[in-house]
């Protein structure tokens, strides 16, 4: 199993959610996060002149999928979240050792 963590633009959540649904993935965890990339944040207007905001609000979407689905899911998220401008985010993929469904106690892929 693979965990896919996608840092995306706040306004892209709906599109990413729909793209995942099309792939049959319903369950996900969404967290409000702050972060920065190579741009080191953005400049905003002060009373006169500007000030730098280094950490921008983003969303982190986490899903755990079968290893065989991982590439397709990553592509679906990337396509849905992409605007082509700096700040589109990143996707991290890691291996998951085990999953347990709390209600039934099922474990492994059936618990996904």
């Amino acid at each position: 199993m693979k965990k896919i963590e996608a840092i995306i633009r706040v306004e892209k959540l709906e599109e990413v959610k729909n793209a995942l649904e099309e792939k049959g993935i319903i369950g996900m965890t969404v967290t409000e996060v702050k972060g920065r990339g190579t741009q080191k944040g953005i400049l905003l207007e002060w009373r006169a002149g500007e000030y730098r905001v280094e950490f921008l609000p983003k969303l982190k979407v986490e899903v755990v999928v079968k290893e065989s689905d991982a590439d397709a899911v990553v592509k679906a998220i990337a396509d849905a979240a992409r605007t082509g401008r700096a700040g589109d985010g990143k996707i991290f993929i890691s291996t998951i050792e085990a999953v347990v469904r709390v209600r039934t106690g099922e474990s492994g892929q059936t618990a996904l």
């Binding site: 944040g41 905003l44 207007e45 002060w46 009373r47 006169a48 002149g49 500007e50 905001v53 280094e54």
Partner: protein, 404 residues
């Protein structure tokens, strides 16, 4: 002879000006980091309580009491002795003396609150209370007496300050510079991002200030009639012109921010304050436009030299007030207000010179006296918060509270 219309207007104006102090707290609070928002509001609202008490006990008498050598009021009206419901004709013949005292109290309250923008996010609260009590006693009261007190030397010289361009805005703006020098920069200033915590709160504060300013300037007529109306028209005109000018300048550089627009309004309102009862609506527009240009570039300059006078009390109020007093010496028209005088543009160079003298003397006095007071308080009571308090934020460290 008490005039009920005049009295009603001055009492309503008093309420309007009282509202300006919490509004100023919102205006400043929205611009500081979230961890200092309550502390910043607290700096303003405590003035409402502390200076109200000071004013009744002894502040009013040393500012407006029977003159001693043109410099200060005597102690004859200590605890408001002899200040009653009967008019005191030399100040305002149509309203109770107590109404005049109360209207002036609102001015005495907001002036030290204005200074707080200079040292937000790093002030030690107890040191602040001591400093402002001393400041109100040794800076505000004497200047108020010079300019507005019967027998005050500047009043006798003929200076025109309709509603406090010198007494309120120059003293606060210049004093802000002096305190900022004594207290030093915020930790990490210029290196650590310092994001405004709540811009809508700043906007709310700014436009409540605009609303209150009708009482500030209109009420300064001390009567309900043509002069009060003229002052309100001028006030609105300058605020509007300055807000638009600020917006245009910032747009030409990059984008028109709500924060800039609101700041522009305040700069224009501060500048028209001394002139409001003496100038035409068109002159008020000009005063507003010039105020915005001066204040905008002063903020840019201050940021460039890396001086942490945090919320630009000097750029908005000091520059605005100085330009306003000078502008009064340019645009004032005796035809509009017989109690005033003609300015330079109406053929009277003497008035212009008087206004320049007032600006110079009040600026130098405010700076020197405030610098000395701040140094004394810093030595005896600690003016600056401790390092770890500044790191944690003054809301939790000094007030035991936090927002959102």
């Amino acid at each position: 002879m008490i005039n009920s219309g005049d009295t009603a207007w001055v009492l309503i104006s008093t309420a309007l000006v009282i509202l300006m102090t919490p509004a100023l707290g919102f205006f400043y609070g929205g611009m500081v980091r979230k961890k200092n928002l309550l502390s910043t509001i607290m700096l303003s609202i405590t003035m409402l309580a502390m200076i109200s008490v000071q004013w009744i006990l002894y502040g009013y008498t040393i500012a407006f009491g029977p003159d001693r050598g043109g410099i200060i009021g005597g102690l004859d009206w200590l605890g408001l002795a002899h200040v009653t419901g009967a008019p005191y004709a030399a100040y305002a013949p149509g309203i109770p003396h107590l109404a005049f005292m109360m209207f002036q109290l609102a001015f005495a309250v907001i002036t030290p609150a204005l200074i707080t923008g200079a040292f937000v996010e790093r002030i030690n609260f107890s040191g602040f209370l001591v400093f402002t009590l001393l400041w109100s006693t040794f800076v505000y009261a004497p200047v108020a007496h010079w300019v507005w007190g019967i027998g005050g030397w500047m009043r006798n010289m003929g200076v025109l300050d309709f509603a406090g361009g010198a007494v309120v805005h120059i003293t606060a703006g210049i004093s802000a510079l002096a305190v900022a020098l004594v207290i030093g920069k915020r930790k990490g200033y210029g290196k650590v991002p310092m994001e405004p915590s709540n811009i809508p709160l700043t906007v709310l504060g700014a436009f409540l200030l605009w609303f209150g300013w009708f009482g500030f300037n209109g009420g300064s007529a001390l009567s309900a009639g043509a002069i009060a109306t003229q002052a309100i028209v001028a006030t609105n005109a300058a605020g509007a012109a300055a807000a638009l000018t600020w917006m245009i300048i910032s747009w030409s550089h990059k984008r028109p921010s709500a924060l800039g627009f609101s700041t522009g309004a305040i700069a224009g309102l501060a500048a028209v304050t001394p002139a409001s009862g003496f100038v035409s609506p068109l002159s008020a527009l000009m005063i507003g436009v010039v105020a915005a240009i001066f204040s905008y570039y002063m903020i840019i300059f201050r940021m460039k030299i890396g001086f942490d006078e945090s919320l630009d009390v000097f750029a908005c109020h000091g520059i605005g007030g100085m330009w306003g007093i000078i502008a009064t010496g340019l645009f004032a028209e005796k035809a509009l207000n017989p109690a005033g005088a003609n300015g330079l543009f109406f053929g009277n160079i003497t008035q212009f010179k008087i206004q320049l003298i007032a600006v110079a003397v009040i600026a130098i006095f405010s700076f020197a006296a405030t610098y000395i007071l701040a140094k004394i308080v810093d030595t005896m009571f600690l003016l600056r918060a401790k390092d770890n308090e500044e790191d944690v934020g003054l809301d939790i460290a000094q007030h035991g509270e936090s927002v959102y």
